[in-house]
Amino acid sequence: MTTSLADVASSNVALRNFLHGLPGVDRVGADQRAAMLGTRSIKTTAKAWAVDLAIRMVDLTTLEGADTPGKVRAMCAKAVRPDPSDPSVPKVAAVCVYPDLVAQAVGALGGSGVKVASVATAFPSGRSSLDVKVAETAFAVSAGADEIDMVIDRGAFLSGDYLKVFEEIAAVKAACGEAHLKVILETGELATYDNVRRASWLAMLAGGDFVKTSTGKVQPAATLPVTLVMLEAVRDFLSATGRKVGVKPAGGIRTTKDAIKMLVLVNETVGEGWLDPDWFRLGASSVLNDLLMQRQKLATGRYAGPDYFTLD
């Protein structure tokens, strides 16, 4: 398969034939499977383990027009020490900001081990020229971003111009240099699970290190079945090519329960190889305080009020 995969991007026709040759996804069945896994009951020791893992997987995110250096600095402090009253709480995986705030984040996080991710490529719509997208990526990387979260051109994808999407991802990947590339599919706009599977394969074939569900600006965002379909795609891609790709559901993950459902999905679809912040991330912000609250509840048996958790 590896040799044939080298040629799939030789033309739009070849790419289309390959992507449309992937097995379809039955929506009803995928929804049922995700819903069933959502009924798993994760308690006591399993929950404590999952809560800590989920905290370590969080990409703490702020993507607002109103973001300021002060806001980013505060969020970075929270990323390094999520609960000031409990040093045993692990750090989150990364912070995720707009390109112009990368330098602020790098300055605030220096040496902490928390990575800096930057959205790029005319986030969230992706409506600009390739030159602008590549330049924006290069700008974020030069400012010190460890990871780039790019958006695909959904317009091109939906109009069947898969090669354009492929070439953009490849160009952005080249501009990333050492930085890891997460490819945001914006599954809410792709609408069908067949499209989600095809877009996942497209992103992986073009060199993406992660596939990510959503920008957080479009609903629905990271649903369980969409994440399931993407996990199946990375599993199949690994067995076809030997290359492992990560998955990042982002948007709509608000509670510990949501986060644990995601981990169950990973556990029972691709297994423990992906139960690691290097291979699975949760793009979210508000979920962190709920994770902290549940963590404290597990340790003390009591819920503290929301004012006991910092809002940064």
């Binding site: 097995p23 379809g24 996804v25 009924t39 308690k43 399993a46 929950k47 199946e232 029972e268 423990e272």
Partner: protein, 475 residues
């Protein structure tokens, strides 16, 4: 490693009495006989309770109580009967946790299934037929269809409460009264249902529950004052019933065994097909008459599908049925386990290749690991006989016509599954498959509005939907 900590459902929600009487004429009564038996939890072999095995006299008493209740019950306006059925449905919903735990204890099925499948369907069935009770004139059987009288109903152990609902809800909606015999290994939810009838103030004698084994069942179906016999269970017993009621004028419906083909084409949605195959044969430990026990897979995707299936089976969680994360529970009885073992051993002797995932079995109770046989031919007994356990026989085919030929080449005809992304092929297959239910891109899905029943040795008559009314009306 993400190890799920034990998450057992509490069994304190259900109050099991040490011993149970028979439910006749709205009262708990002692059996005339001395024959008492213990019902056990198949997951631990722990004794749950003692029940009577009703004698011929007990059955006669129950049939007389049902006959006495029939007059007023059938004369009652349908809208009034509906109120009782709606009330029963609501109480079932309110007490669903209790019923689910009891079902799991007595049957061995995982709590996830009794909670998420059995109980919602039980309540839905009562709600559905409650809706028909005052609309029988519009069911297509004339302006004023009449009930039959007293229905003798004998149900199996695989879905104890759900089969009770399938039998009792349409019978009552149409104005019949019933004497129901639950299976000897799973009587407890039917006895709790008797309590619910009392809680709903159902008139005495409309529902009577007599516990027991084959002799009690024989006494019930052979009782001269029974007008209608409804049976779900093995083809062997169904044949005996058909023979014994022949010429008696009793109306009969039989829902018997199956050996369903689950047919996967090369253009199927592969991940969902794998789920469907798993759900088709490992749901309820394969104790399902319509289980997809024969996987027919197109040869061009057979290896790919089998690899995916084996990978998926390795994630199935077998163990304590009360644990909310258990996928595969206990085999219902020692006798059934022996039968599954016998047929599986035979599969190996006949030359099929046996495979099970790494799967430690508990020390006590009755357990059988999920098992796949590959290299199975139509002539093997595991491809022909109903195993009624978590055992899948895998066969291959080359063309749609061959798939139909193999699927139909069985004495049974209860259900079939077709997996393809091509809509026209689904219709083409459904036209040709001789099975009462054909599922397309799904399996083992049930709905009270949908009729269910078999071709050939899988029985006759339909349960569920508008069609299900016919079995309980004089038409």
């Amino acid at each position: 490693m993400f190890e799920y900590a034990p998450a057992p459902e509490s069994r304190d929600v259900v109050d099991i009495k040490p011993s149970y009487q028979l439910f006749v004429g709205g009262e708990w009564v002692d059996s005339q006989g001395e024959n008492r038996h213990k019902t056990i939890n198949p997951a631990s072999e722990e004794v749950l309770a003692e029940v009577s095995w009703a004698t011929e006299e007990d059955v006669d008493r129950a049939v007389r109580a049902a006959r006495k209740a029939f007059g007023p019950w059938s004369a009652m306006p349908g809208s009034e009967r509906a109120k009782y059925l709606f009330r029963i449905a609501r109480i079932i919903q309110e007490r669903s946790r209790e019923l689910a735990v009891l079902e799991t204890l007595d049957n061995g099925k995982p709590i996830r299934e009794s909670r998420d499948v059995d109980l919602p369907l039980v309540a839905a069935h009562f709600f559905y037929y409650a809706g028909w009770a005052d609309k029988l004139a519009y069911a297509g059987h004339g302006p004023d269809p009449r009930p039959l009288g007293v229905a003798g109903q004998v149900i199996p152990w695989n879905f104890p409460l759900l089969m009770l609902a399938w039998k009792i809800a349409p019978a009552l909606a149409c104005g019949n009264t019933v004497v129901l015999k639950p299976a000897e290994t799973t009587p407890l939810t039917a006895l709790l249902f008797a309590e619910i009838c009392r809680q709903a103030d159902l008139p005495p004698g409309v529902v009577n529950i007599v516990t027991g084994a084959g002799e009690t069942g024989a006494a019930l179906v052979n009782h001269p004052d029974v007008d209608k016999v409804a049976f779900t269970g093995s083809t062997e017993v169904g044949r005996m019933i058909a023979r014994s009621v022949a010429g008696s004028g009793k109306k009969v419906t039989l829902e018997l065994g199956g050996k369903a083909a689950n047919i996967v084409f090369d253009d199927a949605a592969l991940d969902q097909a794998v789920e469907g195959v798993v759900n088709g044969i490992f749901f309820n430990q394969g104790h399902v008459c319509c289980a997809g026990s024969r996987l027919l897979v197109q040869e061009s995707v057979a290896d790919e599908l089998l690899d995916a299936l084996k990978r998926r089976l390795a994630t199935l969680r077998l163990g304590d049925p009360l644990d909310k994360n258990t996928d595969i529970g206990a085999i219902n009885s020692a006798a059934q386990l022996a039968k599954i073992r016998e047929l599986s051993d035979l599969g190996e002797v006949e030359g099929a290749e046996r495979w099970s995932p790494e799967c430690p079995l508990p020390d006590r109770g009755f357990w059988f690991p999920p098992t796949i046989f590959t290299g199975v031919a139509q002539s093997h007994r595991i491809a022909r006989e109903e195993v009624f356990g978590p055992v899948l026989s895998v066969l291959t085919f080359r063309t749609p016509a061959e798939a139909v030929e193999k699927a139909n080449n069985t004495p049974f005809g209860l259900s079939a599954g077709v997996w393809t992304e091509k809509g026209s092929r689904i219709l083409w297959m459904a036209d040709r498959l001789r099975a009462g239910v054909v599922w397309a891109n799904t399996f083992n899905r049930f709905d009270p509005a949908s009729p269910f029943g078999g071709y050939k040795e899988s029985g006759y008559g339909r349960e569920g939907g508008r069609h299900g009314l016919e079995a309980y009306l004089d038409v």
